[in-house]
């Protein structure tokens, strides 16, 4: 057999190729011998074909069974996936969204590990909560408190905050981990969030009063920027992603020193937001664990954007002037003033 010309059916094909000439010869002996060889080969092919067909059927049955198993497994996996998605949605309510996303993406390291990082820390607390809660039915208190936390949380998340925890009526969030826009932008986002919270709370207070909540919640806010320890604290069995350190305590202290409905921030936060908010300096405070005296600032409102002193003149005679003096230097302004003065004099004399 020629190795290069091997064909699975080479012997059958060779036999068939001999056929026409032998039949054409009309030689009965040759035809008989050919018929015998043909019969023998055909018998083998039939037997082989039987075996192959049987084997093929068995393989097919196995494939059908595998396919059925695969469908069952896919159904089970879909069910498991739905269960996991539901679980994930429930878990998301207990975890900071950034941590939740990182955990489910497989990017989060759950080892006990912390690092020092400059963060902006926010504390808020409901003023006189204990007394307020005594004046309300528990059902109403729950409803108002849930609404308050839902609204504040929504604002916090919209500003990119990491919600650390709720502690009774207090809320602790921070900016700068696990995601950061840089220390300055993190501080600005935090202060903007705090302003938006107070604005929204004011709207809620109006609505609550209409619903019979006579003395609705009022809050105090403290904000500080500084180096904190951030990461997973606890044990291998139970971890808490949180922040600790003197700067965190300072934020809480600022909150307790703030006025009702006000934001008290440290100098370290103020330097990043001084163009955003109007402030009144308050006294310096001292904190255990912090060597410096901390200068504090009470936020009195947003800074109004400077209105450019533009001048516009439209006269029916077709004279139009649109002037932005800030775009001119001193010499140019002086030259323009002279020209306009000269023009005014000529206009007056032309009437005489």
């Amino acid at each position: 057999m020629d190795e290069q010309l091997f064909d699975l059916y080479d012997r059958e094909k060779r036999l068939l190729a001999e056929g026409p000439a032998i039949i054409e010869s009309g030689d009965a002996i040759e035809i008989r011998a050919f018929a015998e060889r043909l019969f023998e080969r055909f018998s083998k092919v039939v037997r082989e074909n039987e075996d192959l067909t049987r084997h093929s059927d068995r393989q097919e049955q196995r494939l059908v069974k595998l396919n059925q198993n695969l469908k069952t497994q896919t159904r089970e996996l879909d069910q498991r996936k739905t269960e996991l998605e539901n679980l994930s949605r429930q878990l998301a309510k207990y975890l900071p969204p950034q941590i939740h996303e990182a955990l489910f993406a497989g990017d989060y390291d759950t080892r006990i590990a912390t690092r020092r990082k400059k963060l902006t820390v926010f504390f808020s607390d409901i003023q006189g909560f204990t007394q307020t809660s005594e004046n309300l039915q528990p059902e109403a208190l729950t409803e108002y408190l849930n609404e308050y936390f839902s609204e504040m949380t929504q604002i916090a998340l919209a500003h990119g905050a990491t919600i650390d925890k709720y502690m009774g009526d207090a809320m602790m969030v921070f900016f700068g981990d696990p995601e950061t826009l840089g220390v300055r932008e993190d501080a600005r986002a935090c202060v903007e969030m705090a302003l938006r919270m107070l604005e929204r709370l004011s709207e809620l207070q109006a609505r609550w009063r209409n619903h019979g909540f006579e003395h609705p919640f009022e809050i105090r806010i403290g904000i500080n920027t500084g180096y904190c320890n951030v990461g997973n604290f606890g044990s291998d069995q139970r971890l808490s992603y949180t922040i600790i350190g003197g700067e965190v305590n300072l934020a809480q202290r600022l909150e307790s020193n703030a006025e009702v409905g006000g934001i008290l921030m440290s100098y370290e936060t103020w330097v990043h937001v001084q163009d955003m908010v109007e402030v009144t300096p308050r006294g310096a405070i001292q904190m255990k664990g912090i060597a410096r005296n901390v200068q504090t600032y009470l936020v009195t409102g947003r800074k109004q954007p400077q209105q450019p002193a533009n001048y516009a003149l439209n006269h029916p005679a077709g004279v139009s002037i649109d002037l932005d003096p800030a775009s001119l230097d001193t010499l140019a302004r002086s030259q323009l003033a002279d020209q306009l003065s000269d023009l005014a004099s000529r206009l007056r004399t032309s009437n005489e």
């Binding site: 190795e3 091997f6 699975l8 082989e48 393989q59």
Partner: protein, 128 residues
């Protein structure tokens, strides 16, 4: 010493490992068989086995342990078994051990089919 009938073919994802030593009277075939070109792969093996009757001077022992074989490969293995049959007719005893994994009824039944088809060969179908 190697003869023209000797073969050493390493297994691939689609083809089995093949070893043939005429001087030791050993043949083995292990793995899966669904080559892209069955004729090209099995041509060399069928060619070597068909030379055995003229070069073999001792009994032949063959071990076949396959996991999957497609239909074209079975047709080629028939040719290998026909080669074994020719060795037997030339006067050397041939022993074939057809191995299958314990729960693989397809390979077990295929081994039984070969046993039925080549009754003059000593074929043992065994789970391993």
């Amino acid at each position: 010493m190697s003869t023209p009938a000797d073969l050493q073919i390493t297994a691939t994802e689609r083809t089995p490992e093949i070893q043939l030593s005429a001087s030791n009277g050993l043949f083995s075939m292990k793995g899966e068989s669904y080559p892209e070109d069955v004729a090209a792969f099995y041509g060399q093996i069928v060619h070597a086995v068909e030379q055995l009757p003229s070069v073999l001077n001792k009994p032949l022992e063959a071990d076949i342990a396959m996991i999957y074989i497609n239909s074209s490969s079975i047709k080629a293995i028939f040719r290998i078994f026909e080669g074994f049959e020719a060795v037997r007719r030339a006067g050397q005893p041939v022993t074939v051990r057809w191995h299958y994994t314990d729960d693989d009824d397809i390979m077990q039944e295929l081994g039984e089919d070969f046993k039925d088809r080549f009754p003059d060969l000593s074929i043992e179908v065994k789970a391993s």
